[in-house]
């Protein structure tokens, strides 16, 4: 593998990690507050659809992003009302949201655009385009660092930078702010938060809304950054992989980034090894290669996260005890 191919691999790893990173950080806020969220998938999907639809209609990626966020937050609030206010089962609520999103995107897509559930292809203004960092072309000739700067760091879409900036920001919020302290506490022992005079309900709603916003970014990136429009079921399990990354990372922001990069890397590899002949085994079937990230997800989760400790109060509705 030559250096150009290697840079290409790193570049696509970053691009493929981005939606996972948004979604996993979204899940981090929600689950740290004690609300388990398997509806990351559904919220990404509805956000992807909403952003692509809005971008197609108004021809603006920014408007698309706003609609993507609005749609995901609306779904997040459904999950919040069900699991916080009405103390419902968080898994059931999450599954319901995934189903609704899968069905709704197809029905609305078909009735609005008549393309079998897909949205029209987006042209330049409707998409997030690569941002060229200053001096990228000039730096390209510098050995080693130059190509990394121009080929990997520069030329990503704005949302990629946002995603990776969210990692230190999330760390800072979680460990350096009052909100973060309360968030960490409420996921472990909501009674301690309640007796300290803090509203458990309001705290959890805020966490769920942040989760929705980040899912909105994740979905919008898929439809208006990575691709040029919405195709049915385009999340293809990325919400679940993000959840796996979150668990694998033990609900810690920096580890979440590395876990997402790992899963993104597996995805990038799977694209590259299609049709390539290996010594001894020969050409590997396309299906097997495509299944590789999922198989490795299972292996990693089964083998490496024996000690994953989820927030203790996760999944349990808070009821004041007598």
């Amino acid at each position: 593998m030559d250096s150009a191919a290697l840079l290409d691999l790193v570049d696509s790893t970053i691009r493929l990690s981005t939606p996972l990173l948004f979604a996993a950080l979204a899940g981090l806020y929600s689950e740290r507050s004690g609300i388990f969220d398997i509806s990351l998938e559904g919220k990404m999907l509805i956000a992807a659809f909403a952003s692509a639809s809005a971008a197609a209609v108004w021809g603006s990626a920014a408007i698309g992003l706003c609609f993507g966020i609005l749609a995901a937050v609306a779904f997040a609030l459904v999950h919040g009302v069900a699991s916080i206010t009405y103390r419902g089962n968080q898994i059931v609520s999450g599954v319901a949201i995934n189903f609704i999103a899968a069905g709704l995107t197809i029905i609305l897509g078909q009735s609005w655009f008549g393309r079998g559930g897909n949205t029209p292809s987006l042209f330049s203004a409707g998409r997030f385009l690569p941002v060229h960092l200053p001096g990228a072309d000039a730096a390209a000739s510098v050995p080693i660092l130059g190509p990394i700067y121009s080929g990997v760091l520069s030329g990503q879409t704005a949302l990629v930078y946002v995603a990776f900036l969210m990692v230190p920001l999330t760390w800072w919020v979680l460990f350096r702010t009052r909100f973060g302290l309360r968030l960490r506490a409420v996921g472990e022992n909501p009674a301690a938060v309640d007796t300290a005079g803090i509203s458990v309900t309001f705290l959890r709603y805020r966490a769920v809304i942040i989760c929705g916003v980040l899912c909105g970014f994740a979905g919008s990136y898929l439809a208006t950054g990575q691709a040029a429009g919405f195709t049915r079921d385009m999340t293809a399990g990325k919400g679940y992989i993000a959840l796996a990354a979150l668990i694998f990372a033990n609900w810690r922001p920096v580890r979440v980034m590395f876990a997402c990069l790992l899963f993104g890397f597996l995805d990038a590899i799977s694209i590259r090894v299609q049709g390539v002949s290996f010594p001894l085994v020969g050409q590997v079937s396309v299906q097997f290669v495509q299944a590789l990230p999922y198989i490795l997800t299972v292996v990693l989760l089964a083998g490496f996260v024996g000690k994953a400790t989820p927030p203790r109060a996760g999944g349990v509705p808070y009821v004041k005890e007598r």
Partner: protein
């Protein structure tokens, strides 16, 4: 007379049809330790939750320092200088001491300045009150006594003048409890007001200035502690005379029901918890195992009941040899004739969300009596549950109620009824009256003695020395996994206390 620190006038509170508090009047003087005693379910915790703003009273008023106040939530209570140390600590187990202390009192949206403030304040409280604790320790690494100290520090950091402690010594070792009392006395001498809720009368006598008694949601009496006695308080609590000692005749022991030889048990970390222990329990006697919690009693019970494998030793139960090193099936050990009332009824003895009648046969659900073919015979289960409820006076008498809704004493009776009604040859019973009110204690003790008088062997493990001395025909003292002494029922508390502390009796006498 100075204004009282806190005064309650005509507090009423109902949960559905249950009247938890009925027109409660209470006056707590500034700078005193005021004890509130009552059986489980008497309404003490509800009353304190109202003062702390966890619940709102249906009617009545609260006055703090003579002024009428509304306490709508814990925040309001904190503002009025009321702090509470809950029975189940309100701490976040994986955060540090500093983070727990500042939670809810951070002072600014960013943590930096607040952390410095908390550290300085903790330092001051440490020097002033001897409340020493490592500010950077993670809560779950601290002992229970230290965790409670963090709860007290939380309240003091928030500027509490009135400190409410709900059953503070239930989880403490005797020395930790002594230290707590010293701290409370010092806080009182500095002018703080302390409200102590407990059902341990001896603590009330030892530390309080004034004591109020609650019974069935009512405040039945308030007395200066110096002018009352344990007997009077116990009588006020239950509304009749109670026997604090157990009436029992001489034991008439028969042959050995259980023989334990050279038993060694390690815990899951590989630490030796039971170290080469040998003893027998004969039919018709109660053998009590005394000791401070954590000296191997729990592991001993687990090994005997087949829950935990031993590393070495021999067991003979009802004439049958059992290999304690092998993986034993607790069900098999029960079939041989050993019943087990586990130390922690919530963890091992009951499934709290289950209905009472389901818990009443838990572990014996294979019994053909409760089965019709492949299915459970619900009618038979409920008939059985109702007869046990009747025989053990379990309240409320509703076998369809979820077990979590019974009080601690009644939950314990459910376990006892299940195990004793099997008519076992050997009864293993751990902490039979932990978290149980006075009336139920008396009942449970009588039942245990009745088992003995029916010729059964009883092995009793308890950290309550009074209980061990009242019930046992022979007392074995465990310390650091070994049996360090055997005494008769007449052994003095001081003598046993020395043994429990690991001081050899002969050395101490010499």
């Amino acid at each position: 007379m100075a204004e009282p620190a806190i005064e309650l006038i005509g507090i009423d509170k109902s949960f559905g049809v249950v009247r938890a508090n009925r027109s409660i009047d209470l006056r707590v003087e500034r700078g005193t330790i005021h004890g509130i005693v009552g059986e489980n379910g008497a309404g003490k915790s509800t009353l304190m939750s109202i003062i702390y703003g966890f619940y709102q009273a249906d009617s009545g008023e609260i006055r703090v320092g003579g002024k009428k106040v509304e306490i709508a939530d814990p925040n309001a209570a904190i503002t009025h200088g009321i702090g509470m140390v809950h029975q189940h600590f309100m701490l976040v187990h994986n955060l540090t001491v500093v983070e727990n202390v500042m939670l809810g009192a951070e002072r600014s949206p960013l943590l930096g300045s607040g952390i410095a403030k908390v550290r300085a304040e903790l330092k001051r409280l440490e020097t002033d009150h001897g409340l020493e604790v490592d500010p950077d320790a993670i809560i779950e690494d601290l002992s229970v006594g230290r965790q409670q100290r963090v709860e007290i520090l939380k309240a003091l950091y928030r500027g509490a003048d009135i400190l409410i402690l709900d059953e503070p010594t239930g989880v403490l070792t005797p020395s930790e409890a002594d230290h707590l009392f010293a701290v409370l006395k010092q806080l009182r001498d500095e002018g703080k007001t302390i409200i102590l809720i407990t059902h341990k009368l001896r603590e009330i006598m030892a530390i309080t200035d004034t004591v109020s008694v609650m019974r069935q949601g009512e405040m039945v009496a308030t007395r200066p502690t110096a002018e009352t006695s344990v007997g009077e308080l116990a009588e006020l609590m239950v509304g009749r005379r109670v026997l604090l000692t157990v009436e029992k005749g001489q034991a008439a022991p028969g042959g050995p029901t259980l023989s334990v030889t050279n038993l060694t048990v390690k815990d899951s970390r590989g630490v030796t918890m039971v170290d080469d222990v040998s003893f027998t329990v004969r039919a018709g006697e109660i053998v009590g195992i005394a000791g401070v919690a954590g000296n191997g009693q729990s592991e001993l019970l687990e090994a005997l009941s087949g829950i935990r494998s031993a590393t070495r030793g021999e067991l003979v139960l009802c004439g049958r040899e059992i290999d304690p090193v092998a993986e034993n099936d607790p069900a098999e050990i029960r079939r041989i004739g050993c019943a087990h009332v586990p130390e922690d009824r919530h963890h091992m003895g009951l499934v709290l969300p289950f209905e009472e009648n389901e818990n009443a046969i838990l572990g014996y659900h294979d019994d053909p009596r409760f089965n019709k073919g492949w299915l459970l015979d619900r009618d038979a289960m409920r008939r059985d549950a109702r007869s046990k409820i009747e025989a053990y006076d379990i309240r409320p008498d509703n076998c369809r109620l979820k077990t979590v809704n019974f009080s601690g004493g009644n939950q314990q009776k459910i376990v006892l009824a299940r195990e004793m009604e099997r008519d076992p040859d050997l009864l293993l019973i751990g902490q039979p009256t932990r978290g149980v009110d006075v009336g139920a204690i008396e009942f449970i003790h009588k039942r245990i003695v009745a088992m003995r008088d029916a010729g059964k062997a009883v092995l009793l493990v308890s950290v309550e020395l009074d209980e061990i001395r009242a019930l046992s025909d022979r007392i074995l003292v465990m310390f650091a996994g070994k049996i360090v002494g055997e005494r008769g029922p007449g052994a003095s508390e001081g003598e046993l206390g020395l043994l429990m502390a690991g001081v050899d009796g002969t050395e101490a006498a010499a």
